[in-house]
Amino acid sequence: MAEIYKMHGIKKILYEFKLQFVITIIFLLIWLAFYLLNPPAFSNPFTYTSIMGVVPFTIIPAISLTLVIIAGEIDLSFASVMALGPLVMALTWQAFGEPTPLGILLGLLAGLGAGLLNGILITKLGIPSLIATIGTLFLWRGVVLVVTEGFSIPLGEFRNTLIYSIFVGRVFGIPVQFFWAIVLAIIFWIILNRHKFGAYIYYIGDNRTAARMVGINVDRVLITVYAIHGMVAAFAGILDSLEMATFWPALGDIYMLKSIASVVIGGTPVTGGVGTIYGTFLGGMILGFIEMGVLASGVSGFWIRLVHGVVIIIALAAQGIIRKGELAKIRIMRLLTT
């Protein structure tokens, strides 16, 4: 027992990454279940490219949200920031009459600004993040509604331009936004696991007082995390508006709970200190597979929520069991290291 951390190879990997292992199994089981329910649909590449076309809008904001949650905080406002970013872009494009990269840049900056505001409210004014981001959730959605007066902004005229293909084109039939999700996942994995900044995010979530006492600038790290998250959310919103070739004022609303669910299914607990990008990515994939699977199996779309709910609960139950087992192990190991 005391030798758990002296294990090698497969055994050690299974032990250390058991949460990821479990989430992978759940993902494969769901895949198998839908395949058995409807083999033709799940043998058809089109099904998969359809999933890849839509999951990035859930997964991309969930990736940066993972950082926020690892740091022991939460953000709800990203759902509105997902509309703020593309709104700024759409207005810029309208003003210029062409899809200028400046529009994208300004859209991302708007997201960055929204994130900075969250970070400052939470750290400098000490407002709990749940409350602060409910405030900014309303604020930015309100701004979007007032500016658009509730109307959509068509972007169809800008289709078939380079900028479209870069963000939401198709490569060998695969939606480019899925590659963006993978690239962002890799970048954020590297930040979290190989960079000082990622280490600080984990420490702040694990033991904030300790982080302060060893000299980590907690406020600055948190503000940066929120700023990054705001920018990434704006980016996801921009992708969605491009994919749909329109900006609509409710953009982002449906992703709030799905992105949070992706993080949580993926094994990042809301208590902070631990969590993985891999889990979040698969969490998002699971939700996407369920949506497509339910539709493909021919039953009513109303089933989607129900199946989502069941899977979320199963994933959380599995995590709960694993963590309980760990507590027992901790007690034994502590005795053995005395």
Partner: protein, 268 residues
């Protein structure tokens, strides 16, 4: 023996709301000197060293480190000046491996901030080996360790860092006798290498063997300072009891008390 002060703190006042934790403390550490900072619970020992390390800002007073004056330090600045503080409180991240905890806040990185993981693991292993804590691989999350082992991980932070002034705040509390000896050996090693240290402890028998000078803090004030060579542990024990009871040093020891004879400023 060199007579230069590596650190001087003048008239340090610190209030926490209505609580006055430090009431104008003068304190100094000489180059290559080991100072034992002792005193009852709540005397203000931890607060004093936290101000020196930049965790708290003092309300009044000034700090001089290596001849330069500072109004407000930060831990980052303190590290740069060669000061390391091992906290009395547990400052560990339980879910993270030993090696990350050893380097927490002071990671070895390349110039882009990417972690030098292999180097940190090796150095962490060496530092823990100095305390004979090699039972568990450095990949082990800290939550699996016993209290004493955790304390060892925390202390080993000082070992990875060539500090000029090491501050140990009650480092021996959770340790076994053998582990206490390792910590004392480490402090002796600092002395041999020409470094300085502040050793805070409740247990004067732990401090006594390694220090050069004692500073006794009582209710936010320095009440006495003695050279170790002037006292036996029993003398010190008697003095401490008297201070706890009456706030005063017994008369027969008063002439050995450096604090009344010479203010720290003139000692420099």
């Amino acid at each position: 023996m060199p007579e230069k002060n590596i650190v001087e703190m003048h008239n340090i006042v610190k209030k926490f709301g209505a609580v006055v934790a430090l009431k104008g403390v003068d304190f100094y550490v000489r180059e290559n000197e080991i100072v034992g900072l002792v005193g009852d619970n709540g005397a203000g020992k931890s607060t004093l060293v936290k101000i020196l390390f930049g965790i708290h800002a003092s309300d009044e007073g000034e700090i001089i480190i290596k001849g330069k004056k500072y109004k407000r330090l930060t831990p980052k600045k303190a590290y740069e000046l060669g000061i390391v503080l091992i906290h009395q409180e547990r400052t560990l991240c339980e879910n993270h491996p030993i090696w990350r905890n050893v380097f927490m806040g002071r990671e070895l990185t390349n110039r882009f901030g990417f972690l030098k993981i292999k180097e940190m693991k090796e150095l962490a292993y060496k530092s823990l080996a100095a305390l004979e804590l090699t039972k568990m691989p450095v990949d082990t999350p800290v939550k699996y360790l016993s209290g004493g082992y955790k304390q060892g991980v925390q202390i080993s932070r000082a070992f990875t860092f060539e500090a000029d002034l090491v501050i140990l705040d009650e480092p021996t509390v959770a340790l076994s006798l053998a582990e206490v000896q390792k910590v004392l050996d480490y402090v002796r090693e600092l002395k041999r290498k020409g470094k300085s240290a502040i050793f805070i402890s409740h247990n004067i028998y732990h401090v006594y063997p390694v220090v050069d000078r004692f500073v006794i803090l009582n209710r936010g004030e320095v009440v006495a300072e003695f050279y170790k060579k002037d006292l036996t542990p029993e003398d010190l024990s008697e003095i401490m009891i008297s201070i706890a009871r009456t706030g005063k040093v017994p008369k027969e020891y008063e002439e050995l008390n450096l604090y009344k004879k010479a203010s720290p400023q003139s000692a420099s």
